[in-house]
């Protein structure tokens, strides 16, 4: 791609380019597909919370491990999509997801170094997710209340907080393989 660094690298064939593009696009695309599936009428209890929690976990996870693929503009697009799919005030999810992205970027270095080293890194990552989810729930509640100019009951966002913390461990457990395998540009 760039010729500034010397070294041997494979020829830029069409397949290799496609492969690279797919690996770069995987975080954003998988998040969007999960978001669409989560909004389908599955009749699950707490599906609204699932949808919010899923995007939050995805943005946090990929911001930690693939900040290039899950960049701020990508987060912006995902947030807009999530807001427009639901009936909530547009812009709230965008802000919350961007904030989660920012927090993940800030804590990225210590967390990821630990992750590469040992297994307990996953636990540290999860612990670091708790304040992110707490902030997301609080911000969602506060901003929605402010925009609708009504004091909304905090129960749904509290449930969402618990739900996203629980979901995050499952999500990172599952997508750790993806991030090492199919979504890794270095193994293209």
């Amino acid at each position: 791609m760039d010729d500034r660094t010397p070294g041997i690298r494979p020829r830029q064939s069409l397949w290799r380019r496609l492969d690279l593009a797919a690996r770069h696009g995987f975080p954003a695309l998988s998040t969007i597909v999960l978001l669409l599936v989560a909004t389908a009428p599955l009749g699950l209890p707490g599906q609204a919370q699932l949808q919010q929690a899923l995007t939050l976990c995805a943005v946090y996870f990929w911001s930690l491990f693939r900040p290039v693929a899950m960049s701020a503009p990508v987060v912006f697009v995902i947030g807009t999509l999530a807001d427009l799919l639901g009936l909530e005030p547009v812009g709230v999810s965008v802000f919350v997801l961007l904030a989660a992205h920012g927090m993940a970027l800030r804590w990225r270095r210590p967390l990821v170094r630990q992750q590469d080293g040992e297994r307990q890194g996953l636990l540290a990552m999860w612990a670091a997710f708790v304040p992110v989810a707490l902030f997301a729930a609080a911000a969602t509640w506060a901003l929605t209340s402010l925009i609708l100019f009504t004091l909304l009951p905090p129960a749904p966002v509290l449930f969402q907080f618990v739900f996203s913390v629980a979901l995050d461990s499952a999500y990172s457990g599952l997508f750790t393989y993806a991030h090492r395998g199919v979504a890794n540009p270095e193994s293209a």
Partner: protein, 297 residues
């Protein structure tokens, strides 16, 4: 230079998200148009992914059904016995009604036209209750056969019912999709009649599974277990559509348990009663401002 730009990107986009909140708060039509066009784009995609998901859901449902079969059977037998008794009553009443109508030169109500549409998306959120319907000719299987002469067109303010009762009203219509605001949404409020006492009241959505009854006349509180039907007041609904039954919650507030299975809607019928009395329901953002004036005593 490039790094500085990347560092600036996040604060800039965060500011943009606040701008979006303000913009969509100020211009409600824009939010509606954006949602409608997104719904139109996604409707074909949803129509493709819906059948396999439905199959999964049906499979899960079957397992649950098998589990509950014995209880269900007992319940159904009891219900059947009750229904047989009521059937006799209904037939007698029907005959009497026909005889009375014949004597009164009764002008029958016009049969409303309707379209049947598949629910393709749970379009609510943490603080909203709505579903997205697939309508229009581009979606195969999305539109069933309507009544003879049905135009097949869905428009704002039309009324959605499932097999059991009232679901909600159409709030946005696009080329391939339409959004139905459920009766449980925070912004849904419409006049109802309590069937036994004939008392009028307002049914107000609270985002929970049961909307709340409000503004009944003093001295005649709703009775537990009473049937609630729509009222023709304010000319938004035809009279007598089944809504649900009265249920007092733990804090002694009268609520209505809807007949419609709002948590698992699959197919709804959208009726055109030709009523234009009330403004169509709007997206939640307009809460603070103009709430449509409802018929009250």
């Amino acid at each position: 230079m490039r790094q500085a730009l990347a560092r600036l990107m996040l604060p800039l986009l965060m500011a943009a998200s606040f701008g979006m909140m303000l913009l969509f708060k100020a211009d409600l039509l824009l939010a509606e148009q954006a949602r409608t066009s997104l719904g139109d784009v996604l409707a074909p995609i949803y129509s493709v992914i819906a059948p396999p998901l439905m199959r999964v859901r049906a499979g899960v449902g079957e397992v649950v059904d098998l589990w509950n079969m014995q209880d269900e059977l007992v319940r159904l037998r009891e219900e059947n016995a009750t229904l047989r008794r009521w059937q006799a009553v209904a037939m007698a009443l029907d005959a009497e009604n026909a005889a009375l109508k014949a004597n009164l030169h009764w002008v029958p109500d016009a049969a409303p036209s309707f379209v049947t549409a598949r629910v393709i998306d749970d379009a609510g959120g943490l603080y909203a209750r709505a579903v997205l319907l697939a309508i229009g000719p581009t979606v195969s299987g999305g539109k069933g056969a309507g009544a003879p002469g049905a135009g097949g067109s869905v428009s704002k303010g039309q009324i959605a019912l499932d097999a059991q009762g009232l679901v909600g009203r159409v709030s946005e219509v696009g080329a391939r999709s339409a959004r139905v605001l459920l009766i449980t949404d925070l912004n849904s409020r419409f006049p109802v009649v309590l069937e036994r006492t004939g008392v009028h009241a307002l049914l107000v959505g609270t985002n929970t599974s049961r909307p709340r009854l409000m503004y009944w006349p003093e001295g005649s509180p709703p009775v537990e277990g009473e049937r609630v039907v729509t009222s023709a007041e304010a000319n938004a609904f035809p009279a007598g559509l089944p809504v649900g039954v009265v249920h007092y919650n733990a804090s002694h507030m009268p609520e209505v348990q809807p007949f419609a299975r709002l948590d698992r809607l699959e197919i709804v019928r959208v009726f055109d009663y030709g009523l234009r009395g009330l403004l169509a329901p709007e997206a939640p953002a307009d809460k603070a401002g103009d709430r449509p004036a409802m018929g009250r005593r």
